[in-house]
Symmetry: C2
Subunit: 415 residues, 2 copies
Amino acid sequence: MECPSSFEPRFEAFSKIGSTGDGGVDRVEGSEANAKARHQVVAWMSELGFEVRIDGIGNIYGLLALVGADAPWIMTGSHIDSQPLGGRFDGAYGVIAGIDAAAAVRDRLAASGQKAQANLAVVAWAGEEGARFKPFLGSRVFTGVRSFEEALSGTDVEGRTAREVLGAIGFLGTDDPPPRPAAYVELHVECGSHLEQQGYRLGIFTRWWGAHKLDIEFSGETAHTGPTPMAKRKDALFAAAQIITGIRHLADAAPVGDLHTSVGKLVVVPNSPNVVPCLATANVELRSVKPDVLTASRDRLMELVAFAAATARVTYRIVRDDLRIPGTFDERLGSLARNAAKAIGFDPIDAETLPGHDAIMLAAICPTLMLTVPSRDGLCHHPLEWTDPEDLKLGVAWLGTVLDRLVVNGLEGAT
Amino acid sequence: MECPSSFEPRFEAFSKIGSTGDGGVDRVEGSEANAKARHQVVAWMSELGFEVRIDGIGNIYGLLALVGADAPWIMTGSHIDSQPLGGRFDGAYGVIAGIDAAAAVRDRLAASGQKAQANLAVVAWAGEEGARFKPFLGSRVFTGVRSFEEALSGTDVEGRTAREVLGAIGFLGTDDPPPRPAAYVELHVECGSHLEQQGYRLGIFTRWWGAHKLDIEFSGETAHTGPTPMAKRKDALFAAAQIITGIRHLADAAPVGDLHTSVGKLVVVPNSPNVVPCLATANVELRSVKPDVLTASRDRLMELVAFAAATARVTYRIVRDDLRIPGTFDERLGSLARNAAKAIGFDPIDAETLPGHDAIMLAAICPTLMLTVPSRDGLCHHPLEWTDPEDLKLGVAWLGTVLDRLVVNGLEGAT
């Protein structure tokens, strides 16, 4: 197949949307920049002849019915929302690359007259990052883990629902439901340093790390920080702080790479000088590729929470308790990707994804593949997140080759 | 003197302004409720014949020139802003009581034909709580600790300046400067439990606790909480959490009542799940009545900060470093207050104030007295903050008696 030629200028232009001026972007779900990015994706899909559909949770689909709507659909894509101080590659790369690669496959088939066995769809999933609403907003609804109603009624910190926010930017779609995928392929920068350290330009994610994600709310009582005797305080922030340090020590004490822990978000109420905080809600993450490590660390966390609450004289409540079980991507698609890489002259390395991706949601409903290219220094969710432009182009070519094989030979026939 | 009769209904009506429905109020500086409270104070002062002035930092003065503008001025008052989840007594009590007591003194003099030696002024200081701008916003400008320009250009968390906020509610005054006080008397609920525990209904604050208040900013780097190896993280929140637990242990290890410590406010950036926080700013308070304890705890804090920053691989900056030195209120005024209490049939107890008050700012420029009445369970900055209505009335009568003696006999002659 031909190398796609329009990927680079599109990706450059896209990186300017919501630019934070330091290399990064701020395209939090439903923000003005996110709306602009969405309109850009719709415009490119339309220009390139995709049929565009927006569903009721704001996912954007670009359809190329190469065979006919009843034939199997091969789906590729990723997300275009970002963290508030996010990088330009995370998510956006897979969407822009998908548009380019899918259009290139369609064009090659048209030029060669070769017959397709499957259709192609490119998707931009809504709210993957969870920076505003619960993560995997769009892909969780698409895969049936969450209902439209449940997802739409979720609120941001200001109490606005996803329904309001998506409605306000005009992306609460009412189009016909999109086709179900026979297979899903997602291209994403590694957000890790395995490829770089091992000296590979292409990687296949064979496994994903599991994660326990818990929102733990500590409830104490407001009091004046001056006169209130220390022994009478019911300090919710003191309890939360013990969890932050406690789970860090838990990860530091584990063998390197066995367990990653963090509190990325902490909401304190009333969060005012001179007032003992009455509420502190910590977003706790425990991540591992080993199910037994995950289970043990969760047990230890619960001990820490009970101890912290007791010493701070507060109560606690587990507000959210999501478990992503570690898992493996489709082996046959992995083998196809390995062959496709060799066909364009490269040898890919097997890798694991530590962050979650929409692909992990999709893996529950169809054979799923994740392709990856190196992240410099493993940086991710950071303005300096960076992937070499040559690696980006190579990834697009690889994705195109994989899609081409799937479309031409069908899911069963492709190798 | 006669007991004031209009205090109770006024205080009841005032408590409804910004009511949070659970007994407390939310009248944060410059809020809609704060503006409403300010208009109510201005209305009552005007109705009762005070000359009302608003200065350039939003302080409200009610003047009764009993003798003539050149005679000494006795000033009383407190503040009407509150914490976001504050109580109805903190501050508001002293302002409403001051209006009532001052008007009663003026009326008694008029009825008796007795000659006054001094004038009376009641003041509602702007932004005492520091819930939005730096604390003691109005009294720090009045006492010259801070310039108008410096105070007005201070910003809230949304980046709005005090100038904008006060301007928006119409309280950026341009009236003639108010008179300087020859003495200042503030009546305030105890916000502590000494009176209650010792069984006294009236108290004289003879000393105030000192406080080191520091804003400590930790700077790390954003990174994805999934893949980033623990050893590579630069986690600003992890550093801040170590300070929160560290200073708590510091206070717990000190003899009871020697040292109070807290972090009431913690700002985390970007504060998003999946992202290692790059910034965390902790509002740290160290309080003691003993100067050497304050100094030693500050030294220990600085060691903790350096250690926390090193273990979290972040840098730090002390953004604010305010020291309130412990001090004593005017002894002659204290003696006068003791005599005045006895004249109305009560014996007051000496006490210390642990929270800061506008009176502590005023003590730097004139003889200053603080009168207090019991807080149930010592609760303060809490919706359930409570003082018995009979104690409130008794405090108003006591304040009136003190003001009466100062006005009739002059600052030098009053005993």
